[in-house]
């Protein structure tokens, strides 16, 4: 994408029918550190790569709890993400106050998308430079949405955004058909593996990633570092035993405990981690 005379203003169309400012805003999302989301029928897991300004600083917060049943992971301009999270929290609370019922995720996402669209059609505004992975549960099931700066939103079984997210996406594309019936543990494991893919070489440790889960009986919460490290250790050990986990099927079978349907689709059903 090169600089041209149609890209100064968000309200200027290019002759080819493009709004460059909006597209540049989407570029900002690609610059942020990776955020990954996946869902099953009953749970949604969000994972993100922690990025710190320097070795001395703490990492930026990229996962926000919006309500007991909704959480969001952001990539891009974190400040914009914080503002949008505050908006989402406000909407959820207001809905709950009037109806004593949780705001359906699908509706929150549409409100968010409409808010983003406004910024693409006002000359005195700029698009939000942040992509949001919204994870939530409502009476129609578990949902994962991606809201982008253009004001579009899409529903996904699994998705990854941010830098080096393509590697994670490739992994998810291979495995997503199984996610629907995954157990909670398998889903988290897949999230961790996808996160590892986007680290590309760097060792996966709990200090470098954050995991959050929401489920039917489980309010949205961020897993603490210890739990995450244990989960990492669990599958990393087996990965070493079985050689590099190039066949993701092997990694998924380990912690399955064979209860959920994950075993059937691999065909192997072996569960070496069964204790």
């Amino acid at each position: 994408m090169f600089r041209n005379q149609y890209d100064t203003d968000v309200t200027t169309w290019s002759p080819a029918g493009r709004l460059f400012q909006v597209e540049y805003a989407m570029e900002a999302v690609k610059q942020g550190s990776a955020a990954i989301g996946l869902r099953s029928k009953t749970h949604v897991v969000l994972a993100c790569v922690n990025k710190a300004n320097s070795e001395l600083s703490s990492y930026q917060k990229k996962i926000f709890k919006v309500d007991d049943h909704i959480g969001v992971a952001i990539a891009g301009l974190t400040a914009d993400g914080r503002v949008l999270s505050r908006y989402m929290r406000s909407e959820c609370i207001n809905y709950n106050y009037t109806y004593e019922s949780p705001l359906p995720v699908g509706r929150l996402v549409v409100q968010l998308a409409d808010k983003a669209q406004v910024c693409t059609q006002r000359s005195w505004k700029r698009p939000y430079g942040v992509g949001l992975l919204v994870a939530g549960l409502d009476e129609s099931g578990a949902h994962l949405y991606y809201n982008c700066p253009s004001g579009n939103y899409f529903e996904y079984q699994a998705f990854a955004i941010g830098s080096r997210s393509q590697a994670a996406k490739t992994y998810l594309e291979r495995r997503f058909e199984n996610f629907k019936d995954s157990s909670r543990e398998d889903l988290i494991k897949d999230a961790l593996i996808a996160t590892r893919e986007s680290l590309q070489g760097e060792k996966l440790r709990s200090s470098i990633c954050t995991i959050a889960v929401v489920g039917a009986e489980e309010p949205f919460h961020i897993l603490d570092q210890e739990t995450v490290q244990q989960l990492i250790d669990a599958f990393e050990i087996v990965a070493e035993e079985e050689g590099p986990a190039s066949e993701p099927g092997a990694a998924a079978d380990e912690g399955a405990a064979a209860e959920e349907g994950a075993g059937a689709d691999q065909g192997s059903g072996a569960a070496p981690m069964d204790i």
Binding site: Y97, T98, Y99, E100, S101, P104, G106, R107, V110, D138, E139, S140
Partner: protein
């Protein structure tokens, strides 16, 4: 909405003039409702009193709301109609989302509580006692909101005189998993007592039922009454003097 109507009538008077409490003009009397095996049963008479005159005798005081709820109201009939318009708009917007989610009885009940309480705070109440009942995803819900915003849920509720005359009967005779026939019989017992003792009651009733499948509101019908008590024959026998 009602505020703008007032403003239109008196454009020269500032809207800061305080709204005094309204007086109800055309009122409905009690509504009684209970939970039964398959859902909710609600009954009311069809009278609209104009003060002490039993003026209107075909007022429907129970209406379906959306797919999952029934609303019964006592008190000012015009305010009830206003509330129906609010709810109509609410349900319309809910349907327009077209996304598999829908407002259930609990949500409607809470919305009404907010509306009633808000109006009360502005010293401009909607002069109604509302009963909201419904079934959604197998869950039965029955709640009440008063004109000052007091709200609660229970297995059986009543408004107005029903609180004093019907609820004691319900407390004694209601139990879980009433059949439809038993529920209707119980409601009719309550309505009969109200017919005898509440002067604003008329002998023309509707019984409404809501289950997972939907809403049914019966055709109007009357209850049999018995007035042949001996003390009603020749009531002045035994009275001394002219007074």
């Amino acid at each position: 909405m009602s505020e703008s109507n007032r403003a239109k009538q008196s454009p020269l008077i500032s809207e800061a003039a305080s709204e005094r409490t309204q007086y109800p003009y055309v009122t409905g009397t009690s509504v009684v409702a209970l939970k039964y095996k398959d859902g909710i049963l609600m009954a009311s008479d069809m009278g609209g009193s104009y003060g002490s005159t039993l003026r209107y005798k075909s007022v429907e005081r129970i209406k379906p709301i959306g797919k999952h709820s029934l609303l019964g109201a006592s008190g000012e009939i015009s305010d009830f109609q206003e509330i129906l318009r609010f709810l109509d708009e609410l349900i319309l917007y809910d349907n327009m989302w077209d996304d598999g989610n829908s407002l259930g009885p609990k949500e409607v009940h809470n919305y009404l509580t907010r509306v009633m309480y808000n109006r009360r705070n502005k010293f401009d109440p909607l002069w109604n006692s509302l009963i909201l009942g419904g079934v959604k995803n197998g869950q039965k819900y029955l709640g009440m909101v008063s004109m000052i915003g007091v709200n609660f849920e229970d297995n059986h509720v009543a408004t107005g005189f029903g609180n004093h005359l019907a609820r004691p009967i319900l407390r004694d005779e209601w139990h879980e998993n009433l059949s439809f026939e038993d529920g209707v019989k119980l409601l009719e017992k309550c309505m009969r007592v109200l017919l005898y003792r509440d002067r604003s009651a008329v002998n023309k009733f509707q019984v409404a039922k809501i289950t997972e499948e939907g809403v049914t509101i019966s055709q109007p019908y009357s209850l049999k009454t018995f007035w042949g008590f001996s003390s009603f024959q020749n009531p002045t026998v035994g009275a001394e003097g002219s007074w």
